[in-house]
């Protein structure tokens, strides 16, 4: 039983390791997040206005529940990083020159705080500094409110607002080319002509304060200052990502171990039952001596406990090792200052309890057998297996099989429950493989659609404020620019029924070529001449469809409203937006020809000249290069995907191996005499290996299509489960995915066959001459 025990220990170990790793990581993340938020006084509410006076502080502080307010200046900048040709972008936030801000305090990693005589000094994020190798005293150039400035780095820090440093408007993390910076408030305010004013605020609320009421009061108070809408902590992007990650870790910590422990219980049951069957004589002797059923049962439960204990120890050790690595991986993404891995006591308690439960459940069949066995019955050898004509006889297909083929098929059909559960377990492993590969292929598809069919521009430039159409000509005149496709982006509230959604109306001239509207499959969607096209996800969430009339309310002081018919829905991939022609938005905006930015096609031969010029253009808020964005996206998620994929393949193959190996070992034990007889009759080891493993092949071949179907269903269900405003995933299934999963399962089976074949070689033919089944 050693081989079976090892297989069971591995399956249990995998399940426990998964639970320990993810649950402990989850606990570490939660603890780190809570500690950090508490120590840094992470805000509860964020505001953005066009410009508002500092005098509003008292009014804001008078709102019930408000404990602290940090009013600051926040601006997007273009950054010129030494050694990089292409310009980078950044966000610069003001902080008090003396002391930390009252909300969202920075955690200094190196260097010093600002001095009262601060001049062009900045503190940069630790991630940005590390990615570029910056140290205190290094300088970077940036366009700050149209002014070319040399900024001196005086320190590096972490911020609770930037636990995840996502490039605004994208899903990318590019620590090398996205700078999070802080500057002394007076200095930054002066650069943006915001003395005595602010354009961004973060507010801390007392525990238990209803956030909704505070948001409503703030919106009403700040409407005339160009308020773009207050958001609560749950909508703060960095926090949202981290919280989603924590939630997913928690789910993974429950679902995956449950699957593994379920499979382990099944394997324990069939293995222990077989073991008890081979020990019938010993059980009979013990019963004859007067041992009670309880005492005998406890002995065999002990075997299950030993198996489970081995798996638990392996799982605890493995889980700790995996958890440490997992946490380090998180640390590369989530910039939390305190992130130590340790296994909470409750995790160990739950692990032990779950293991004991698995052991008891795994011994149920064996214990029932022991209890039912009268001592005299147990003294006799096990009754020979009874076969009758079955399904294949009734169907009349038995004649198409060889004798060996009939042995295989009848043995499978003789235990339909065991065969059925084995099929399901292997199908589950196959489904997991298909789902894992679907994620990989899906990310490839996202890159293909987003960066080759939607965004086909070389660069997208965004202005600090909308410009006149003259800007198109200015851009076209830049060196290397071959084509300019302007766009206007208008922040609006979309209203339908009782639902409201903050979104962006993007208007384009004619039918765009460089940056197109497209569905998840990459099929271009034309901007309707009349009405608007909306993201389908938003439409479904809000309950409107094609033909419905929605209301758009521009987010500015005037709050202009515009009713428009929805002409089309787009199953787009990123963000939730409204697309409209210039003709539609010009009615809405009552302004002609203004643009927020443009998509550019650049001659590769003149790329460097373009970089040189664009870095210094004063009106730029940001410039993003498609190729760089694509590479960043790929790099950001590839590591996670590779590790996830390895993880998925490893665990799925472990399930498949555990089931196939155990079934084959038990079959060898049950039918060892039969197989040895075949050897005596003149069958080779290869022949009887085929007979034995043929049963497993039948089970696998039955499992593969079920597994494919399961994988397809999981992959169809998953996008709807994880769809958010930021991201939707397309469903598709490739033949290659299904083939890969099938081949993996078959390879696992083949490897198992190698182990089984070694056992078959050791069959004792002599013993069979004297044995009696």
């Amino acid at each position: 039983m050693r081989g079976q025990l090892i297989a069971i220990i591995l399956v249990i170990g995998a399940g426990i390791a998964n639970y320990v790793a993810f649950q402990s990581t989850h606990a570490s993340l939660v603890r780190s997040q809570q500690t950090y938020y508490a120590e840094s006084n992470f805000g509860d509410v964020w505001l953005q206005v066009r410009r508002a006076p500092m005098a509003l502080r008292e009014r804001i502080e008078s709102i019930d529940g408000v404990t602290s307010v940090d009013m600051r200046v926040v601006a997007g900048v273009v950054v010129d990083i030494p050694g990089l040709d292409d310009p980078a972008s950044g966000i610069i936030t003001s902080v008090p020159a003396r002391g930390q801000p009252p909300v969202n305090r920075l955690s200094m990693r190196s260097g010093k705080w600002f001095s009262p005589l601060s001049d062009n000094e900045v503190i940069v994020s630790y991630a940005f500094a590390s990615a570029n190798g910056f140290r205190e005293g290094d300088t970077i150039n940036a366009i700050v409110n149209g002014r070319w400035m040399r900024l001196t780095i005086i320190g590096t820090a972490l911020s609770p607002e930037w636990v995840l440093e996502l490039v605004p408007g994208s899903m990318m993390i590019d620590n090398k080319r996205f700078a999070v910076m802080w500057m002394a408030h007076e200095e930054l305010a002066s650069l943006y002509d915001m003395e005595g004013a602010w354009n961004s605020a973060s507010i801390d609320l007392a525990p238990g304060t209803p956030v909704g009421g505070v948001l409503a009061r703030l919106d009403a108070m700040l409407r005339r200052f160009g308020n773009t809408g207050a958001i609560a902590r749950d909508d703060q992007l960095s926090h949202k990502f981290l919280s989603d990650e924590i939630r997913q870790a928690s789910m993974t910590a429950l679902i995956v171990p449950a699957i593994f422990l379920g499979v382990a219980v099944f394997l324990l049951n069939i293995s222990l039952l077989r073991f008890v069957t081979t020990q019938r004589a010993y059980i009979a002797i013990l019963k004859a001596f007067g041992y009670s059923n309880m005492r005998i049962s406890m002995h065999y439960i002990g075997f299950a406990v030993v198996a489970v204990a081995g798996g638990t120890v392996l799982g605890l050790v493995g889980g700790f090792a995996i958890g440490v690595k997992l946490l380090k991986l998180y640390l590369d993404f989530y910039r939390l200052p305190v992130m130590e891995f340790d296994v909470p006591v409750f995790v160990i308690i739950v692990t032990i309890a779950a293991s004991l439960l698995a052991a008891c459940l795994g011994a149920v069949a064996a214990v029932r057998t022991i209890v039912r066995l009268p001592p005299a019955e147990a003294m006799r050898p096990e009754a020979p297996r009874s076969y009758r004509g079955g399904m294949i006889e009734r169907m009349g297909v038995a004649r198409f099989f060889t004798a060996r083929g009939l042995m295989i098929v009848r043995n499978v059909l003789r235990r339909p429950v065991r065969a059925g559960v084995s099929v399901l377990a292997i199908a589950l492993a196959m489904s997991i493989l298909v789902l894992g590969r679907y994620f990989l292929e899906m990310f490839d598809s996202i890159i293909d659609v987003q960066f080759h069919r939607v965004a086909r521009e070389d660069a997208v430039v965004t202005f600090m404020t909308p410009r006149s159409h003259q800007a198109v000509h200015d851009l076209a005149a830049l060196p290397g620019v071959m084509s300019v496709e302007p766009f206007r982006a208008i922040a609006v509230d979309l209203l339908f029924g009782r639902s409201t959604k903050r979104t962006v109306v993007t208007s384009v001239l004619g039918d765009p070529v460089l940056h197109r509207m497209a569905s998840m499959s990459g099929t271009p969607v034309h901007v309707p001449a009349e009405g608007v096209a909306c993201s389908s996800f938003m439409a479904r969430t809000m309950g409107f469809g094609v033909g419905d009339t929605i209301e758009l309310r521009q987010i500015d002081e005037q709050r202009r409203r515009f009713r428009v018919v929805v002409s089309a829905l787009v199953e787009d991939m990123m963000g939730v937006q409204v697309y409209a022609s210039v003709g539609v938005t010009s009615q809405f905006l009552r302004e002609q020809g203004s643009i927020s930015g443009a998509y550019l096609q650049i001659d590769p031969l003149h790329r460097k000249e373009f970089y040189r010029v664009i870095k210094r253009l004063p009106s730029m808020s940001s410039v993003v290069f498609r190729e760089r964005a694509m590479r960043s996206f790929d790099e950001s998620y590839t590591q996670f995907m590779d590790i996830s994929n390895f993880y998925i393949i490893f665990f799925a193959t472990l399930i498949a191996f555990g089931v196939v190996f155990n079934n084959a070992r038990i079959a060898l034990s049950e039918r060892g005499n039969e197989l040895a007889s075949l050897r005596v009759l003149g069958f080779s080891n290869r022949d009887i290996t085929i007979v034995l493993l043929g049963e497993q092949l039948v089970i696998i071949l039955a499992a593969l299509p079920i597994g494919m179907l399961g994988g397809v269903l999981f992959s169809m269900w998953m996008p709807s489960l994880i769809a958010t405003d930021l991201f939707r995933f397309p469903f598709f299934m490739t033949a290659r995915n299904l083939a890969n999963g099938s081949v993996t399962i078959l390879v696992v089976a083949a490897i198992t066959g190698v182990f089984i074949r070694r056992r078959i070689r050791r069959l004792d033919m002599i013993a069979v001459l004297k044995s009696h089944e």
Binding site: R385, Y387, A403, L406, M407, N673, E674, S677, R679, G682
Partner: protein
């Protein structure tokens, strides 16, 4: 030892064979300098009590085991130094086994059990014919669980003879059967020997069965102590124990 039918070709030539096993820290000598010949068409009964070495001798003759020393030749082939593949091939083509506990495949019908071995060899007997020969023509589609012990043993005999082996090796073929059924089985073995001219080597502890043999080899403690040619052979029907 006498070669009763010395004109018949020698099938097995066993010469000074010794077989010992390591059992923990002890060496157990199962066969001690055993020599004998078995000729074509012989019906030999090897008689001995438990531990006499008769099973070990049968194992070596059947290619299931090799001697520690000495030589065993089957016709011109040296079995003493054969590889596993060569022994498998030998068993497949030349030997029919009948076990004490039948060892027929429970998931196959009587017919399919015989087909299992006829699929292995060239020019086998028709499986139905083999089953008819042993009196099971009307039970060919029955599974072992639907057959009596004697019927199962007869299936085993049909399986053994269907591949037209050179020798039929029977290990206590009546050991698990009651008297009447045992006689029935012995009648089948006797019939196979007479009608198919098969060479039969049968091991047993039951001295009565030796009365049907052409030659009786008695073994004790790993050695042949006596070889007898019965004056008058009895028919199986005439045996009693």
């Amino acid at each position: 030892m006498h070669d009763q039918h010395s004109s018949r070709p020698v099938l097995f030539d066993v010469s000074h064979v010794t077989k010992s096993y390591r059992m923990g820290e002890l060496d157990v000598v199962a066969l001690n300098d055993v020599s004998l010949t078995i000729r074509e068409s012989d019906l030999v009964v090897i008689l001995g009590a438990s531990g006499s070495g008769k099973s070990t001798l049968l194992n070596i003759l059947g290619g299931l085991d090799v001697p520690t020393s000495g030589s065993v030749r089957y016709r011109e082939t040296d079995l003493s130094h054969a590889t596993d593949a060569e022994l498998t091939s030998f068993r497949r083509s030349s030997v029919g086994f009948v076990f004490q506990f039948y060892n027929i495949i429970p998931s196959l019908t009587a017919l399919e059990n015989v087909q299992l071995v006829t699929d292995l060899v060239d020019a086998p007997m028709d499986p139905r014919e083999a089953l008819e020969l042993v009196g099971l023509g009307g039970r060919i589609h029955h599974f072992p669980s639907q057959l009596s012990g004697g019927e199962q043993q007869r299936v085993a005999i049909a399986r053994a003879i269907a591949k037209r082996p050179d020798v039929l090796l029977c290990d206590e073929p009546t050991g698990a059967l009651d008297f009447e059924t045992g006689i029935l089985v012995l009648e089948v073995i006797d019939m196979v020997h007479r009608e198919l001219d098969a060479t039969v080597a049968l091991i047993t502890h039951n001295a009565s069965i030796a009365d049907m043999a052409e030659r009786v080899i008695r073994m004790r403690s790993g050695s042949i102590v006596e070889e007898v040619v019965p004056v008058k052979r009895k028919l199986p029907r005439e045996l009693s124990w």
